[in-house]
């Protein structure tokens, strides 16, 4: 199974196994990464699962869809590498992915 590393704002590192086909958001919740809120449960409607994709991975993960980009408008401290974790599906190509989580998801 691919491994994903979440680096939280306070420096806490979680390296976890991710199920293929699950989303990065689901992977975070399953592994108690507390800075991922996911209020809407993966509907791309709340922007409380924002992550900063590590620079080395940004091109591989790719940019947000236009729907997701709209939703990022209601997130804070948005950066060029910002993505919503619920919109990133785990694939073999993402084995080793590193994402950083923000200090605040709006709640």
């Amino acid at each position: 199974m691919p491994k994903i590393t979440f680096i939280e704002h306070d420096g806490t590192v979680h390296t976890v196994e991710a199920e293929l086909g699950a989303t990065v958001m689901e992977t975070a919740l399953k592994n108690d990464v507390s800075s991922i809120v996911a209020e809407c449960g993966g509907g791309c409607t709340c922007a409380t699962c924002m992550v900063y994709v590590d620079d080395a991975w940004s091109a591989i993960v790719g940019p947000p869809s236009s729907d997701e980009e709209y939703q990022l408008d209601s997130a804070f401290e948005v950066k060029p590498t910002s993505r919503l974790a619920c919109q990133i599906k785990v694939t073999e190509a993402l084995d080793g992915l590193i994402v950083h989580t923000p200090a605040y998801q709006g709640r």
Partner: protein
């Protein structure tokens, strides 16, 4: 003070579970009023996933959040519930055995025999931007809603956001503000195209300013803003003088006043008796996502079931003189009459 509204049951929350509770209570001749903080019915179905398909409503293989809300509104029509939208219940006071006086933040007062809390994840409240030192300005010169437009006449106003709320208030306040600046993180707006066009025309005519970036710092004293710094994506900072700022970043769920009602809670959820869904305060019930009990699942279908059982117990309080006979809508003429089909 406004007149007290008398009803059998006040339901807090007009999401799917609150709506279906109207049906179950209605079948037992119990009249309902509903209060919801959103300006529309449907709760999370309307606010978080109106267009997303739901696959686990029994007997309905696929329906959207909006579709489910619409269908429930149709189903409860025979019972004529009254809705009080855009309001939040603030206090619940016992004035009888049981009889409650319930007040809202809009100044309404209800008197009812039971209260049903169907508040889901709590109340939807505006997201607060994480700008250092914003707290002292909130409700003094930083506002998450516009109560009186006149308060902004002749002022330098910054509106932040890219959705309909930000655009609507930009267009409404631009004519009366001294100078209006709209701040958005990118030069693309998700609001209604007509509003976007109007805003762009005002910018082109020099009647307002549009700045692309994120607010990074506030200046002022004693709660009164004097300026805000806006950082663009390359890190360059522009300082904009302002008297007021209106951030519109959408809504998030907060538990809200439920915690102040003297109800036993566990982990921000209301503890209930699983046979009646009554809380530790007799006459106050909790159904749907807001409650907790051993084995609880936060499913819409669980909330529907909880509403049916709750109604049986509420009947004791509302019609204590009447014996409750269990009936089916398929065969009971009396129930069919209430539904307007017999």
């Amino acid at each position: 003070m406004s007149d007290t509204i008398k009803t059998d049951v006040l339901i807090i929350g007009a999401g799917p579970v609150g709506l279906f509770a109207v049906f179950e209570l209605g079948l037992l001749d119990i009249k309902t009023h509903l209060v919801d903080i959103l300006d529309k019915v449907g709760g999370q179905c309307a606010e978080l996933y109106p267009e997303k398909p739901i696959y686990d409503i029994p007997g309905i293989p696929l329906i959207t959040g909006h579709g489910l809300s619409e269908a429930l509104m149709e189903q409860i029509k025979p019972f004529h519930p009254t809705f009080h939208l855009g309001e939040m219940v603030t206090t619940i006071e016992n004035i009888g055995d049981p009889l409650f006086r319930v007040t809202t933040d809009a100044g309404k007062t209800f008197e009812c025999k039971s209260v049903v809390i169907a508040a889901g994840g709590g109340s939807f409240q505006p997201k607060r931007p994480p700008i250092a030192g914003i707290e002292p300005y909130e409700d003094k010169s930083v506002f998450y809603a516009v109560r009186k437009m006149e308060n902004f006449r002749g002022k330098d106003v910054i509106v932040v956001g890219g959705g309909d709320s930000a655009l609507d208030w930009t267009l409404n306040l631009q004519p009366i503000a001294k100078r209006l600046t709209l701040v958005h993180r990118r030069d693309d707006f998700r609001g209604a195209p007509d509003s976007v066009n109007k805003m762009r025309a005002l910018v082109a005519a020099g009647s307002m300013d549009l700045r692309i970036g994120q607010v990074s710092e506030l200046e002022g004293s004693d709660g009164q803003l004097t300026a805000a710094s806006i950082k663009d994506k390359d890190g360059a900072v522009t300082r904009v003088a302002c008297d007021a700022m209106l951030p519109f970043f959408g809504l998030t769920m907060k538990l809200g006043p439920v915690a102040d009602w003297g109800i036993e809670m566990h982990d921000e959820l209301v503890k209930v008796d699983v046979s009646t869904f009554e809380t530790n305060r007799p006459g106050i019930f909790a159904i749907g996502d807001i409650n907790t009990y051993p084995g609880k699942l936060k499913l819409i279908l669980s909330g529907f079931h909880e509403g049916a059982l709750m109604a049986q117990r509420v009947h004791h309080y509302v019609h204590p003189e009447k014996r409750l006979v269990f009936q089916y809508t398929t065969s009971s003429t009396s129930l069919q009459k209430k539904l307007g089909v017999a």
